[in-house]
């Protein structure tokens, strides 16, 4: 926390290197959220840049009540939420049983023959995650890629801890079912494939 405080103070004093360091430390986290929440690929980088500009503009108000990264993630989530609202893309959706899958999705390209089985599984999983409602895939990303706790994720997305856990479990169960519908179980865990 002291390191974060020092970094913030240096940025507020106008230290460009300190701000660059903050961006480099957190751009991975920001990109995880932006890439999962924003369907339009061309807007992602601009939106990520907008997030850091907001971070910079509001840094003086950060009170160190949470980790700096959690605060940045919250700004990212809110920025993406505003974007989706403008584009009239629903943020809140439930996992419906008839939720479309990759197989039913027009435009899903067949995987190239030269792909190995493992790459195919990995690509398929990524595509299946992308097909989930925004909140579910954001929770999955924050939990598995950024290793955040239920409490931290709940703080970022303004959801109760129990809801975060429930969404996470339901999404993973659904993903497992979709993978097993496409692949033989042995293909999934055999390290030689």
């Amino acid at each position: 926390m002291d390191e974060a405080r020092d970094l913030v103070n240096r940025i507020l004093a106008g230290d460009a290197k300190a701000f660059k360091s903050l961006v480099e430390q957190n751009q991975r986290l920001v990109s995880h959220i932006v890439f999962k929440m924003i369907p339009n690929e061309t807007d992602r980088e601009d939106l990520s840049q907008d997030v850091f500009m907001r971070v910079y503009r509001n840094l003086g108000r950060f009170e160190f009540r949470s980790k700096l990264s959690t605060w940045i993630a919250r700004i990212t989530y809110n920025t993406c939420g505003n974007y989706l609202e403008k584009k009239k893309i629903p943020l809140y959706e439930d996992l419906a049983p008839e939720q479309k899958t990759i197989d039913s999705c027009a435009g899903a390209n067949p995987l190239p023959d030269e792909y190995t089985e493992k790459q195919e599984i990995s690509d398929r999983l990524r595509e299946e995650v992308d097909m989930l409602p925004i909140q579910y895939k954001t929770i999955i990303t924050l939990y598995h890629l950024d290793e955040m706790s239920y409490t931290e994720i709940g703080g970022i997305m303004k959801l109760p801890e129990g809801t975060v856990k429930s969404y996470l479990f339901r999404a993973r169960k659904l993903l497992k079912e979709r993978l097993t519908a496409r692949f033989q179980p042995e293909e999934l865990w055999n390290p030689n494939t």
């Binding site: 995880h32 910079y56 503009r57 993903l175 993978l179």
Partner: protein
């Protein structure tokens, strides 16, 4: 326990390290139950895939772009660098001058002018000058008190309105 299969939630809890049942009991069951073990392996595969961070790359010079977009690190000219200082000095001189010419502070402080406070403030120095009331000694005291009051005002504005926000000054959005 041996006869009852683990639920998906229990397996996920086990892999997350939040198992409600004893870890050893779960492990024991997994050793003896092929179905649950298969399910566990599927989840392990899923967890491994979900932790794959590929495909989220921003441009290589992303951090530089962000830094330049907020205007940090750019060399600024002499005037821009010291603009705040210059504005503060000009403001202070203006405030002292205004107080000096438009009020008669000693008269206000002397009190007993409840009913005449309006005259004291708005007509004070001009009125005095016009009537030849002000003496040079009175002017000096007025100047000192006006100066102190102006500085206190500037400090209050700076402390409670500007510094409390602590916004970086070079932000360009």
């Amino acid at each position: 326990m041996e006869s009852k299969h683990l639920t998906d939630a229990e397996i996920q809890d086990y892999l997350d390290g939040n198992a409600v049942r004893e870890d050893s009991a779960v492990a024991e069951h997994l050793d003896s139950c092929g179905l649950c073990k298969k399910n566990l392996e599927l989840y392990k595969c899923l967890y491994s895939g979900l932790s794959d961070g590929a495909g989220y790359e921003l441009s290589v010079d992303f951090a530089d772009k962000v830094v330049s977009s907020v205007g940090l690190g750019e060399s600024r000219g002499f005037f821009r660098r010291y603009a705040n200082v210059l504005v503060t000095i000009i403001g202070t001189v203006a405030a002292i001058t205004a107080l000096y010419y438009f009020t008669d502070i000693p008269k206000i402080i002397a009190g007993g002018a409840w009913l005449g406070w309006f005259d004291s403030i708005f007509k004070g120095r001009i009125y005095s000058s016009m009537t030849g009331y002000a003496s040079s000694a009175g002017n000096t005291v007025s100047l000192i008190i006006s100066g102190v009051l102006a500085l206190v005002t500037i400090w209050v504005v700076d402390r409670f309105m500007i510094r409390s926000k602590r916004r970086p000054s070079s932000l360009v959005i």
